[in-house]
């Protein structure tokens, strides 16, 4: 099977400061990938470039064998979406309006959402448990609720691939598990390909089937959590001494604090 999403020799720099160095990777349909690495390792930039959100220097990202630079924005948005970590909102939009915005790539100009779009949005809100406050304003709800609303909007967009930039970093444990469980269901039931930038290594290993470890703009390791979580690799990349434990068949990273 040919890869679904492919990154070929991608290098990227902001104002001549290199951020990504010769990244290559391929993603199969239905993958659940965690993109991990220290702050500044290039996770967010890589996600934005894969999602077509930042301008690509050349044809370095391909989706279903087409370079994304050659695909129309609306067509690309039907195949793939990107969800930022934070959602600053200046204007008062309701939850329902935000979720319906996911239908944009399916609508012609000058039109309003139809019955079908409302049905899809409603279903997306049910999936993310946001339907009960759909007529409230986005700025009035909590961080965890905002993240679920943005996820509902992404689901309404009905893409094959979702790229999420640290979807759980700003949330407490309950909301982290809630978001990741919804994502797991989307992956298992609708075969949506997921790539998540994540900070929490243990949550990443628990939910993602494949981890890609970035450091200094380059891929250090790419594989299952067991393949990536190796004591010397993690210690090198993060600059912290760690112990690895296995609990209920899952591998956990435990930092050794300076006193011990």
């Amino acid at each position: 099977m040919s890869p679904h999403l492919e990154v070929k020799n991608l290098s990227f720099a902001y104002d001549s400061k290199p951020i990504l160095k010769d990244i290559s990777l391929s993603v199969e349909k239905g993958d659940f990938i965690g993109l991990i690495g220290p702050n500044g390792s290039g996770k967010s930039t890589l996600l934005k470039l894969m999602g077509g959100v930042l301008n690509l220097p050349d044809d370095a990202v391909w989706i279903n064998e087409h370079p994304i630079n050659a695909i129309k924005k609306k067509e690309l948005a039907r195949a793939m979406t990107w969800i930022p970590q934070e959602h600053p909102m200046v204007f008062p939009f309701t939850i329902q309006e935000i979720v319906l915005m996911g239908r944009h790539p399916y609508l012609p100009p000058l039109s309003f959402e139809g019955e079908e779009d409302y049905r899809i949005a409603r279903h997306a809100m049910e999936t993310t448990q946001t339907l009960q406050f759909s007529d409230r304003y986005f700025n009035e709800i909590s961080g965890g609720e905002k993240q679920r609303v943005m996820l509902a909007s992404a689901i309404a967009q009905d893409p094959e691939i979702m790229l999420l930039d640290e979807p759980t970093s700003a949330l407490d444990l309950k909301y982290q598990v809630q978001i990741l469980s919804i994502l797991k269901r989307l992956n298992e039931e609708k075969d949506i390909t997921l790539i998540l930038a994540m900070h929490d290594l243990n949550l990443a290993s628990r939910y993602c089937r494949r981890l890609i470890l970035l450091n200094d703009g380059a891929i250090v390791r790419d594989g299952t959590p067991e393949e990536v979580f190796q004591k010397e690799v993690i210690e090198n990349v993060y600059g912290v001494n760690v112990n690895l434990h296995t609990l209920d068949g899952e591998i956990l990273v435990h930092p050794i604090t300076s006193g011990s």
């Binding site: 959100v53 924005k73 959602h87 939009f93 944009h104 100009p109």
Partner: protein, 338 residues
């Protein structure tokens, strides 16, 4: 629970604001420093030379009211669009230097005594339109990245800089002007709707309404940009293209109006805000509602300006500016509470 509502309530809102506009259009011509007899005014037709009531109604008040409608509509829509594009609810049509560029053009024409007209347009109007275009071109060509995008923080900064720069040139020209020119400059800078012909209104209306139509056409794209450029891109919006269309169209309709009326402040800030309270932030609704409400609002302000200390007429720009200060205070207090 009214969870999924559809856009039927929006249509209702449109009808209400249309009725408000029509009521304004019917009532305000009857208000003024001179009482007019409506029956007599309507009996003779538009060009009855010896019918004083008809003259006041059709030659004095109506053109001015129609200009108020076009100007109010243009400034309000431009304000709503600038606020969305810049993701800043304090942005206004003049934020990016359009009005100060127009002022520089107008003041140049006044100081150099260019008193001829071309194609029916006085030089002051033509120069101020060119000044507005020049300001737009300058600001956007300074800010535009090599990917064709307009980073909003830099745009705001460039706009403020352009405003200060053009304002200093205006002050310099004002300082070296003679007494009569100085009066004309001050008068132009106050902004007003005092015209006495339909030709002026007819010459700017097509440009303004074509522009507003185009902005409504890209309304859903503008909605998405107002929530963030990156997420708009991932929803399928061609952000650089919509930014170009939005900024240039909103600036052009602003420049077109300002060339005739001078800068009428705060309309483009106040009207989108109040409209948003009624119909929400969806620009597919907010643009037409701002257009109707802005037209009504400026006509009403100008009616106040015509009658407050009648028979002296105050430039409407003074009235809108007087409303603008308290409005800003209200806005700040409201934002603090949220």
């Amino acid at each position: 629970m009214s969870i999924i509502m559809g856009h039927y309530s929006y249509k209702m809102n449109l009808v209400i604001f249309l009725l408000l506009f029509l009521a304004t259009l019917c009532v305000t011509p009857l208000i003024g420093s001179t009482q007019i007899d409506l029956a007599n005014a309507l009996s003779g037709g538009v060009h009855a030379q010896n019918n004083l009531d008809a003259n006041i109604l059709f030659q004095v008040r109506l053109p001015r009211i129609l200009l108020g409608a076009v100007a109010g509509a243009a400034l309000s829509v431009a304000g709503a669009v600038f606020q969305a594009l810049l993701r800043n609810d304090l942005a206004a049509p003049f934020t990016l230097g359009v009005s100060s560029g127009a002022a520089l053009g107008a003041v140049l024409a006044i100081v150099f005594n260019l008193n001829i007209s071309i194609l029916g347009f006085p030089m002051v109007s033509l120069f101020s339109f060119l000044g507005a275009l020049g300001a737009i071109f300058l600001v956007f060509s300074l800010v535009r990245t090599r990917h064709g995008e307009f980073p909003t923080s830099i745009l705001l900064l460039a706009g403020v800089t352009a405003n200060f720069f053009f304002a200093s040139m205006v002050m310099f020209l004002h300082y070296i002007s003679d007494f009569g020119q100085s009066f004309r400059i001050i008068r132009w800078l106050m902004g007003g709707l005092d015209i006495t012909d339909y030709q002026t209104v007819l010459s700017i209306a097509p440009m303004v309404f074509l522009g507003i139509g185009l902005l409504i056409y890209v309304g859903r794209d503008l909605n998405l940009i107002s929530t963030g450029v990156h997420s708009a891109t991932s929803r399928g919006v061609n952000v650089p293209r919509i930014q170009r269309i939005g900024f240039i169209t909103a600036s052009l309709i602003t420049g077109t109006v300002v060339a005739i009326t001078g800068p009428i402040g705060f309309v483009g800030l106040i009207v989108p805000h109040i409209s948003r309270l009624f119909v929400g932030s969806d620009l597919r609704i907010l643009i037409p509602v701002s257009m109707l409400f802005g037209a009504s609002f400026l006509i009403i302000c100008d009616t106040v300006a015509r009658t407050l200390i009648a028979p002296t007429e105050i430039p409407v720009g003074i009235i809108t500016a007087m409303l603008g200060g308290p409005f800003f205070v209200w806005l700040l207090k409201r934002k603090r509470q949220v």
